[in-house]
């Protein structure tokens, strides 16, 4: 009899160890720093300062206001659109869905820059238009994006798609018979909506609200671009400013703790809400839901959706396009002033471009490749329950979801600026950050892919005489191929649009695309941003379109809960 040599176990332990280091090390240092002073003696002083000094209390309050109002706006806007797209006979439903995806994948910081172009008090295109149309004074303006409402508005623009996806998915999968059953018992349309449809969709809406809240709370790019010029801070920008000279790392760590704790709590709540949603599909066979006829309101509904989408998609994209092609980012381009100068400038003259593109491609490729392999191994082990404790492995792999980007950035900075791992200043630290941030999505996607492959497919191969490796190679790998490619692409895009962790980890030699865009914004070079931003969007759309052709992943793109 042949002795079975099982190399799987050591490999799995190694993976578990890597995961533990990736996630636990930064969080541990975060905890240590937040609870000690410069000499590493235990103290609660950091938290006392945090919760008593107006310098910190104000951002805390601002963040709370932004998060609550954004979440509320997102629900109010996204829920009706979700219902219209999923349940009504509104024309152009597929187009609205596609445009939602577009605003979904637009990096929020790029949207913020675009809205600077549109609604800065003096140079904003909308304000210029307002002055031209009304003949108002040259210092009059209609909008001021550098304000608390401005920040809330822009954050909501790129957050409400999260709510939309959750609500629309819930309504899509809700069996129409549930409503029919209510109607046949004598309920009028509105009663059915109030007693059946809305209660069934409510958990998804609440879960969406929590995600929107989290997103608004942990976003760095938009507030940094819009709030700092207006002279106020949010928690994320405050944490970032604590990294500026002279760095106050203990306070930064302490300031990150509330974000982390709140995120974990809210995600738990969200899971509980969505977990109970299972009751909406109980037994029996269901047909697709009936569409509600809007009659004369069909076109009104569509126009409403398009007007909403003006804000995250049409206007910003036009503004970026305008800035990219005009000699001056903030003047309207005309056929005679149309120029490709900005494009030429960015790709040939701007010295940072080459380095940044190289870094981004290296990091994107490396993170996507390593991340996919890591996620593949973990997903295989957890779906096939190969070792005891595989559940823990799965938990570790999804844990980074609960760590906001900037919090992870702080933790990594603290962990890897000291022996034995001095990685700060190298691409390694960014690689670790991007890997950690993208691991949960990659793992969830591949786990879903594995779950669709019945274990008996592998067993059928083995009983016919193939070893485990042969079976994996001949049966599992070909069936997983599309899933693996999709995951790789998603990580690559994720790396490209990540800003909040990169902003505390980059050095002059390790800049990435998102950081460059942020820097260019500081130096007021909006035309260059427009060119880079459009390039970024084109790549992203190409990838998303390609991936959406794979049916398995079309829907789960909505599972991405990451912010930039």
């Amino acid at each position: 009899m042949r002795r079975r040599i099982d190399i799987t176990r050591p490999v799995l332990w190694l993976v578990a160890l890597v995961l533990a280091v990736l996630i636990l090390l930064p969080l541990s240092w975060l905890a240590v720093y937040s609870l000690t002073d410069k000499a590493r003696h235990f103290t609660l002083q950091n938290f006392v300062t945090l919760f008593s000094d107006p310098d910190f209390l104000d951002p805390l309050l601002t963040t709370a206001i932004i998060a609550v109002t954004s979440a509320a706006i997102c629900c109010v806007v996204a829920a009706p659109i979700g219902w219209l797209v999923s349940r009504s006979d509104m024309p152009g439903r597929q187009t609205i869905r596609a445009l939602m995806t577009a605003s979904f994948v637009t990096p929020p910081f790029l949207g913020a820059v675009a809205w600077e172009l549109l609604a800065a008090p003096n140079s904003g295109l909308l304000n210029q238009l307002f002055r031209a149309l009304t003949g108002a004074e040259s210092d009059a303006h209609l909008f001021d994006i550098y304000s608390l409402p401005g920040v809330i508005f822009v954050i909501s623009c790129y957050t409400f798609p999260f709510v939309f996806v959750l609500v629309a998915n819930a309504l899509d999968t809700m069996p129409g018979e549930l409503e029919d059953a209510s109607a046949i018992l004598g309920a009028k349309a509105w009663t059915t909506a109030r007693r059946i449809t809305i209660p069934l969709a409510l958990p998804a809406l609440l879960a969406g609200a929590l995600i929107a809240f989290l997103q608004a709370m942990t976003l760095f790019g938009s507030p940094a671009i819009l709030a700092l010029p207006a002279g106020f801070h949010t928690m994320t920008t405050k944490i970032w400013s604590l990294f500026q000279y002279p760095p106050k790392l203990e306070l930064a760590a302490a300031a990150a703790v509330p974000l982390l704790v709140l995120t974990i709590l809210l995600l738990q709540t969200q899971r509980a809400l969505l977990g109970r949603r299972g009751y909406s599909v109980v037994g029996g066979k269901y047909g697709p839901p009936r569409r509600v006829e809007l009659k004369g309101w069909r076109w009104v509904a569509m126009i409403f959706c398009l007007i909403v989408l003006l804000n995250p998609v049409f206007l910003p994209y036009l503004a970026l396009l305008n800035a990219a092609l005009s000699p001056n980012a903030t003047t309207f381009v005309t056929p005679s002033t149309l120029t490709l100068h900005n494009v030429v400038f960015v790709f040939t003259e701007l010295s940072a471009t080459a380095l940044v593109l190289k870094n981004t491609v290296i990091l994107g490729t490396a993170a996507a490749t390593i991340g996919t392999i890591l996620a593949l191994v973990i997903a295989y082990v957890t779906t096939r329950r190969l070792i005891a404790g595989s559940r823990i492995l799965g938990l570790l792999a999804t844990a980074p979801v609960a760590v906001p980007g900037i919090v992870l950035g702080v933790g990594l900075f603290l962990s890897y600026t000291r022996p034995p791992f001095v990685l700060y200043g190298t691409l390694w630290i960014l690689l670790i950050a991007f890997l950690t941030i993208n691991l949960p999505t990659a793992y969830q996607q591949l786990q879903a892919a594995f779950a669709t492959i019945h274990p008996e497919l592998e067993e059928a191969s083995r009983i016919l005489g193939a070893t485990r490796l042969t079976s994996l190679w001949q049966i599992t790998a070909p069936l997983l191929r599309t899933g693996v490619i999709a995951t790789w692409c998603f990580i690559f895009i994720g790396v490209m649009r990540e800003l909040s962790a990169a902003i505390v980890l980059f050095t002059s030699q390790t800049k990435v695309l998102s950081v460059l865009i942020y820097d260019l914004n500081e130096s007021g070079d909006l035309a260059a941003i427009a060119v880079l931003g459009i390039a970024m969007l084109v790549i992203t759309f190409a990838v998303v379109l390609a991936v959406n052709r794979i049916p398995m992943f079309g829907a789960s793109a909505g599972a991405r809960l990451r912010n930039s």
Binding site: R2, E456, E459, R462, G465, A466, L479
Partner: protein
């Protein structure tokens, strides 16, 4: 060519024994059904034989080879077995021909031999016209036959079937039952067949092992199992039997509902409570007292249903025990009337357990 033997086979998950000390010897070329309700351990037993699971205790021998024991388990690929899965497990990215020849390619046979064997098995399973289709393009019955062809083409020593017909509709199921038996008779491998459907087991098996709670409750030919159930579980699970409980007067007499029944089967112990089984269609029911008063009890009709070929009665005996009786359709007694039931002594099987 090989027999399959399980010796004290046990598989525990934590403190729960899914398979509990099962011993079974299957001679070469026989077809054995593991029959039982879901959760009785039959599929676990099959997966232990296949080598997908390692036993907690006990051994599995194939021919003179020890293939599974607590210490060493031969991996599935080294067992020269084939298996048909409940889901069929056809590989969706391969055509019918690719699916079927997979095992032969692993065995590194030459192209010509593979083609010859493929043509033969496709003809046997009536799939020749479908060789280039993908599994997704086939009907359920066709998929089932591909699974059969894929398992048989490698000429296994042992064929394992895990509820192979549970996904088919009733007509196809009947047809495939005989197909499986026919192919078994043609190729003469040792077959272990797992099912929860007793008529499937009856039509295909040489031997049936009725499983309950991880153990084999009764092992026997289909006739044994049907006519000579040894336990209440088997009597209830196989066919439609009434269970009558009473007090034994001597080795072959049972006191029940004010009457004395002569019974056969296991010897009863005087004075003890005992159970007997009698099938619904073995009881004769009449409105008038029969001439021979032996083994007759009185009962009241609770309800009756006309089923076309038969008439189905639910009656209550004097002590309240309810019995089902199947009679000729013309035998009509109204609900609420008193009737006389004759329970032929040779049909009253005293149960050992």
């Amino acid at each position: 060519m090989a027999s399959v033997e399980l010796r004290g086979l046990t598989k525990r998950y934590g403190s729960v024994a899914a398979v509990d000390n099962v011993s079974l010897k299957i001679d070469h070329g026989r077809l054995v059904c593991l029959l039982g309700p879901s959760g009785c351990g039959k599929t676990t037993t099959l997966r232990l034989i296949a080598g997908f699971l390692e036993p907690t205790a006990g051994e599995i021998h194939v021919g003179d080879r020890l293939v599974s024991s607590k210490a060493r388990t031969l991996p599935p690929e080294a067992r020269n077995m084939s298996m048909i899965f409940q889901s069929y497990a056809l590989w969706p990215h391969m055509t019918v021909a690719d699916n079927v020849t997979y095992g032969l390619k692993l065995r590194k046979l030459d192209r010509v031999t593979i083609d010859k064997k493929l043509a033969a098995i496709l003809a046997t399973t009536k799939l020749a016209a479908l060789a280039d289709r993908y599994p997704g393009e086939l009907s359920g019955g066709q998929q089932q036959r591909v699974a059969l062809a894929r398992a048989l083409i490698v000429e296994p020593e042992t064929l394992l079937l895990d509820e192979p017909l549970s996904n088919l509709d009733a007509n196809l199921r009947e047809e495939m039952r005989f197909e499986i038996r026919r192919l078994h008779d043609e190729y003469r491998y040792t077959t272990v067949y797992v099912t929860h459907d007793q008529s499937e087991a009856m039509t295909t098996a040489d031997l049936i092992a009725v499983m309950n709670g991880g153990r084999i409750d009764q092992l026997g030919t289909p006739e044994d199992i049907y006519d000579r159930a040894q336990s209440e579980f088997v009597a209830r699970f196989i066919g439609a039997a009434n269970i009558i409980k009473g007090r034994a007067r001597d080795a072959d007499h049972l006191e029940f509902a004010g009457a004395m029944l002569r019974v056969t089967g296991a010897a009863l112990v005087s004075g003890e409570t005992a159970a007997i089984a009698i099938r619904q269609h073995d009881i004769s029911l009449s409105a008038r007292a029969p001439q021979d008063p032996g083994n007759v009890i009185r009962a009241t009709v609770l309800r009756q249903v006309f089923l076309g070929a038969t008439r189905d009665y639910l009656v209550a005996a004097a002590d309240g025990t309810s019995l089902r009786v199947v009679t000729a359709p013309g035998n009509l007694v109204t609900e609420g009337s008193e009737v006389f039931l004759t329970l032929p002594p040779e049909r009253c099987r005293a149960l050992a357990r």
